[in-house]
């Protein structure tokens, strides 16, 4: 028999609500993977058609960085692989570009996260900025190797300069719940 009492409904609603929270790390691996896939779909389809070619919003990097700070290493690597492959198989970027850059970011974060206090905003700000600079720098380097100096002009600079603060701002929104409380990774 279905229990329709107020307490039971409240309990079920609380469970459903925990799924509706849109954040990088919920603790359930399958749900986090689904959310990452959703972010990938937003990143590859919805955002470019809204923002156009002069404003580039990188949703994937801040989302992944948040997971890398909070999540345990083996699980985090699953997210690294999924997000990198989602980006690489949707663009004409050289195979392995995002796998490589995200792997390096993941290793750096893993090696440094125990020494930083994630209760404060500054480590998050520096991590998001560092990761985004790493991604942009690596992309630019690969582009320079592939095509020389041809693609670099003022438009390119403008797009990248907009991309950095936007990604950091998105990251700072994602990490709000950890500021003041810290993460479980600090105890590792």
């Amino acid at each position: 028999m279905i229990d329709l009492s107020t307490d039971s409904l409240r309990l079920n609603w609380a469970q459903v609500r925990s799924y509706l929270r849109f954040r990088p790390h919920t603790g359930r691996l399958w749900w986090d993977v689904l959310l990452l896939l959703f972010i990938g779909a937003l990143h590859g389809t919805v955002l470019p058609s809204i923002t156009g070619s002069l404003v580039a919003i990188d949703l994937m990097t801040p989302w992944l960085v948040t997971i890398l700070v909070v999540e345990k290493m083996p699980r985090a690597m699953i997210f690294v692989a999924i997000s990198a492959l989602m980006l690489e198989t949707h663009t004409t970027a050289p195979a392995g570009l995002y796998l490589c850059v995200y792997w390096v970011i993941a290793c750096v974060i893993y090696l440094t996260r125990g020494t930083l206090s994630w209760r404060h905003g500054l480590p998050w700000l520096l991590t998001y900025s560092g990761a985004q600079i790493g991604v942009i720098g690596f992309e630019t380097f690969v582009l320079a190797i592939n095509a020389g100096s041809r693609p670099f002009n003022w438009t390119y600079l403008f797009v990248q300069l907009c991309r950095l603060p936007l990604a950091v701002a998105i990251g700072m929104l994602l990490c709000r719940r950890y500021i003041g409380r810290g993460t479980s990774a600090e105890d590792d």
Partner: protein, 295 residues
């Protein structure tokens, strides 16, 4: 985890992070072209979301354009009628010239033009985030689309197929920095290799002595890459000379504006030379040859 194993893991990660760029740069630096089905699984999983979003966005856009924003429709209609009348008279002239051309080709014993098999596809996505420019179209392996096939629009060359899923394909655009195309200068018949430049432009390096004008049209040479000869590619926008360099650098604006593309055509014919060899050597050889040609 013990302190020792933690330190060991840290060391392994540090070494792997340092080695990762070396491993990456030792590869061919080309996009995934024929990825294994497992790799395409992610894209196949996301494809329905992409279709739904495209349907919603284009539905809203069409409703606005077709039912609300009609203030300029009457003027545009009148202008298009004028264009149509002039084009119809030109078509009559053109038909006559085609017949004459065919007669002359037969007289001279030139080989006939091969009939192009075209497949219409809708554009459902365009990646603007990075400099690696591509679009996604609604035709895939199931429709006979293969890696390396040329993609064109009404105005000219769009790009070539770089990756094929079951129901979709990714097109590397002409303006992608890794795209190269053999072209002819229509007026002077000089050949050159056009390279993508990003930001809707391409570039061409030619010897300084070659005569060239702003506004000259470039067409495909039909020699390599599977593009039929004579497809419009773009027009010369800027010519720059450097005193110490023997080459002149030509900036080309493609005829096709990829940001406004809604429909494209995939040319299903492969390179005619490859097709001849495939008839003898078999389809497996062709797959390998296309793969090598697109690298």
């Amino acid at each position: 985890m013990g302190d020792r194993s933690k330190k060991l893991l840290g060391l392994v990660l540090l070494v792997s992070a340092l080695l990762a760029p070396f491993v990456f740069f030792s590869t061919s630096l080309r996009a995934w072209q024929n990825p294994r089905p497992a790799l395409l699984l992610l894209q196949d999983a996301l494809y329905p979301a992409e279709r739904v979003w495209h349907g919603l966005a284009s539905g809203l856009h069409k409703t606005w354009r077709h039912y609300v924003n009609l203030s300029t429709a009457a003027d545009e209609n009148q202008m298009l009628r004028g264009h149509l009348a002039s084009l119809q008279s030109r078509i009559l002239d053109y038909d006559e010239q085609v017949q004459e051309n065919d007669r002359l080709r037969r007289l001279l014993g030139f080989s006939g033009r091969s009939e192009k098999k075209l497949l219409a596809a809708e554009v459902i996505g365009h990646d603007d985030l990075s400099q690696f420019e591509s679009i996604r179209i609604t035709r895939g392996k199931g429709d006979g689309v293969r890696v390396g096939m040329p993609v064109v629009a009404a105005d000219g060359v769009v790009g070539k197929i770089i990756r094929v899923g079951q129901h979709f394909a990714d097109v590397q655009l002409l303006v992608d920095s890794d795209f190269h195309l053999d072209v002819l200068l229509q007026r002077t018949r000089v050949r050159g290799v056009l390279s993508g430049f990003a930001h809707s432009q391409c570039t061409l390096q030619l010897h300084k002595r070659i005569e060239m004008r702003i506004g000259d049209t470039l067409i495909t040479s039909g020699i390599v890459g599977g593009f039929p000869k004579g497809l419009p590619v773009g027009r010369v926008m800027r010519i720059t000379y450097e005193t110490e360099n023997v080459a002149q650098s030509v900036t080309v604006e493609p005829w096709v504006d990829h940001r406004r593309l809604e429909e494209v055509m995939v040319i299903l014919n492969l390179d005619p030379e490859l097709e001849k060899i495939a008839a003898i050597a078999g389809p497996e050889w062709t797959e390998r040859a296309i793969d090598m040609q697109t690298r």
